[in-house]
Amino acid sequence: MKTKTKALIAGGVWMAIIILLLVIFGSEGKNEEFQPQNEFKLHPWLSIHIGSVDLSINRAVFYLVLTAGLTIGTMVWIAKKMQQRPNRTQVAVEMAYELAKNNITRGNMSAEVATRWFPFIGGLFFFILFSNLIGYLPLPTNTGEHFNVFGLEIPTFAIYAATANISIPIVLTLVVWVSYHVEGVRAKGFVPYLKSWLPPGLENMSAIGRGAIFLIEVVSHLVRLVSLSVRLFANMLAGHLLLLFMGGGLAVLLGIAALGALTFPLAFAFFIFEVGLVATLQAFIFSTLSAIYIGGATSAEH
């Protein structure tokens, strides 16, 4: 049988299942009980309140600790059992390490600054990469809902990531933002660093014009705070929402069983897209932009 015939038969069977479900079950009307935003709610597992500060242990904290542990554990484990003839895992980790060292860090700053800042940039890259990848493993963490296995109450499986919560990207961004300014001031001194924000070629401009351009530069530095953090957060959240809706959320919400059969294969396609491209790319982008900011703050010319 030719591949084309097989594909046609598979597509036909798929369509038949969808039509069958549509005929048998039809539409049950809009489901008011299912609230998609509850999938991202943080239930406190262990309430800790110090004054008015809420330090409760919840899902996001669990993912944060899990990611940090896994990042450190993997890298230390690989470093401990280095071999002359590397196996596949070692090759993969070495490739990621090379990427972080040569491409991301060294490609965007001078050799001296790169030696000083590679641990930070590399740590950032691996932390975000692991966080994003764990985010696509369904773990039993949704304590809002339970299901029974032989009388055992188990929380529902759900996907979540530390980086899909705005707090983690914003803290990472703040660390990067403060540290590149500090590094710039350390390399050039306070006033020359502020002067270096102005693009070159404005020597003949009046003081007012230069002041206006300086104001625009100040705004652009502040916007970096928003763009860097929201980019990571929004990519992860949108990916998780997409998987939630495609993997059955839409069918439950609208009460149409046939829609679930239609969207479920799409969930697989999006899953591969998210894991294969977006998770890695966002870690790459975040660390590359951090490296560009630090490199730009310390470079002599410009």
Partner: protein
Amino acid sequence: MDLPSITAATEAITGEDVKGAGKAIALGVGAGLGSIGAGIGIGFIFGKEIESVARQPEMKSDLESIRWLGFALTEAVAFYTFIFGLIAFFLS
């Protein structure tokens, strides 16, 4: 003009259903228009990259990392609008 019909119309405008419809429109139009811009941008990046590689094939490896940087920066724009649409839908 008869006043009861105006009162009825005002009630319809301020009702819960209309509010929900407005939120749905905010999410749909916001995310949809944002995707248009990002779609054009991503197409532009990959189109230009193909053009450059066709002109200078030896630059392929250099262009690769710049391509992904541009792709991710542009793609994020779609998600900004999407997130603000979600905020309008769920949190307002």
